[in-house]
């Protein structure tokens, strides 16, 4: 694994991988959206509004998966100080926050016709909003700090913040089981799915497609951070030579 922590080796893999992730991801998302909107029937009870799940569920998955990877990157930064871990954490934060916001927005739009309210302070919604604020805090903490000017590594504080914030992830996941909530319980568990197969398959497409898109965005952002680092290193060298 250490071999891939080297930015040059990383770039050799990331560069050709990015267009593939982007292209296949876009195809799957478009195909899944078409299937979810036009091919499968509406829900027996909710009717057409149920179709928002093809965006809502992948958004929730990526919002939570994003923070999980952020926490892993934080741990790697703290313990092994790999040069890429901080860069990865910085790259993940923005799309993670974006998908969390998308999850909250689609949930709210679905909640109005289904529950009869845009927003309620139940366990699931509140813990998801906390995740959005955690992302905002991480981005604020890592924007324009010393690490950004020195190769992208995280400060110890930011890495610990990423790790501690990970506690919210199982809380979001379990919120509908531990507490009475307005949000329904989990539809897809290890024991199977209570979403009927006829409605479930487009979700597989969008879930996988959005995940690939997320990966493409993260790789693009990581490459940009590495490129920025190289530019500033070169400028520093030039400035030193002139002295």
């Amino acid at each position: 694994m250490h071999a891939y922590a080297n930015p040059t080796r990383f770039l050799a893999i990331a560069k050709p991988l990015t267009p593939w992730l982007l292209g296949v991801g876009l195809l799957l998302v478009l195909g899944g959206a078409w299937a979810g909107l036009a091919m499968v029937p509406g829900d027996y009870k909710q009717g057409e509004t149920a179709r928002i799940l093809y965006v809502h569920v992948p958004s929730a998955w990526l919002g939570m998966g994003g923070w999980t990877s952020l926490a892993v990157a934080g741990l790697v930064q703290l313990v092994w100080r790999h040069p890429l871990s901080g860069i990865a954490a910085r790259a993940i934060a923005v799309p993670g926050m974006l998908f969390t916001a998308l999850c909250l927005a689609t949930g709210s739009i679905w909640g109005r016709p289904t529950w009869g309210t845009w927003w309620e302070w139940d366990g699931r919604m509140t813990s998801m909003l906390v995740l959005l604020f955690l992302y905002a805090g991480f981005i604020a903490l890592t924007s324009g700090d010393d690490g950004q000017r020195q190769g992208g590594s995280l400060s110890r504080g930011a890495a610990i913040y990423a790790l501690v914030g990970a506690i919210n992830i199982p809380i979001i996941n379990r919120s509908v089981v531990w507490w009475n909530s307005l949000h329904q319980g989990p539809s897809i568990t290890l024991r199977g799915s209570s979403i009927d197969g006829a409605l479930l398959w487009p979700l597989g497409l969008t879930l996988f497609g959005f995940s690939l898109l997320f990966g493409a965005i993260v790789l693009m952002r990581m490459r940009r951070i590495i490129a920025d680092n190289r530019v500033s290193a070169r400028l520093r060298r030039l400035a030193d030579e002139e002295d």
Partner: protein, 145 residues
């Protein structure tokens, strides 16, 4: 022991400690973080008369009765163990109906009727095509509990 091993152990111990604190906090919040109370909790004396609270439960089959004024409805909220009569004047969400979940904001009246100011429909975790929704209950996909 190498420095990075020390850091790994330290980080994992700290993480375990914080996770334990999180679990303790979550279980301590068990009652406080609940979005609503169930009929059995309400009848078990967890709700004083006139205290603002939320009641959640299933609308009992055949229990919705529209009152003479045409606006007020009465129904029975149940969790299978206890049942609480509910009275509500106003418009209910489209998905409100018998044998499905609902959450009501309101307060208990002295005569044991829950007077709701607002009613939300609660959706369950089952999603299926319309033709299956009309099938007999025992043929539907089992709902995860």
């Amino acid at each position: 022991m190498k420095a990075k091993h020390q850091r790994l152990i330290l980080a994992l111990v700290a993480l375990g400690g914080v996770a334990g604190a999180g679990v303790l906090a979550a279980s301590a919040l068990r009652d406080e973080a609940a979005y609503f109370r169930t009929p059995v909790e309400v009848q078990g004396g967890k709700a004083g008369v006139g205290e603002a609270m939320r009641l959640g439960g299933m609308v009992a089959k055949g229990s919705i009765v529209r009152q003479a004024d045409g606006l007020t409805i009465r129904f029975v909220a149940t969790d299978g163990k206890a049942a609480v009569p509910v009275e509500y004047k106003g418009i209910v969400p489209d998905l409100f109906g018998e044998e499905s979940g609902m959450v009501a904001d309101g307060r208990m009246r002295a005569d044991g009727v829950f007077v709701a100011d607002r009613i939300l429909a609660k959706h369950d975790e089952r999603y299926m095509p319309p033709q299956m929704g009309e099938m007999p209950k025992n043929m539907k996909a089992p709902a995860a509990t």
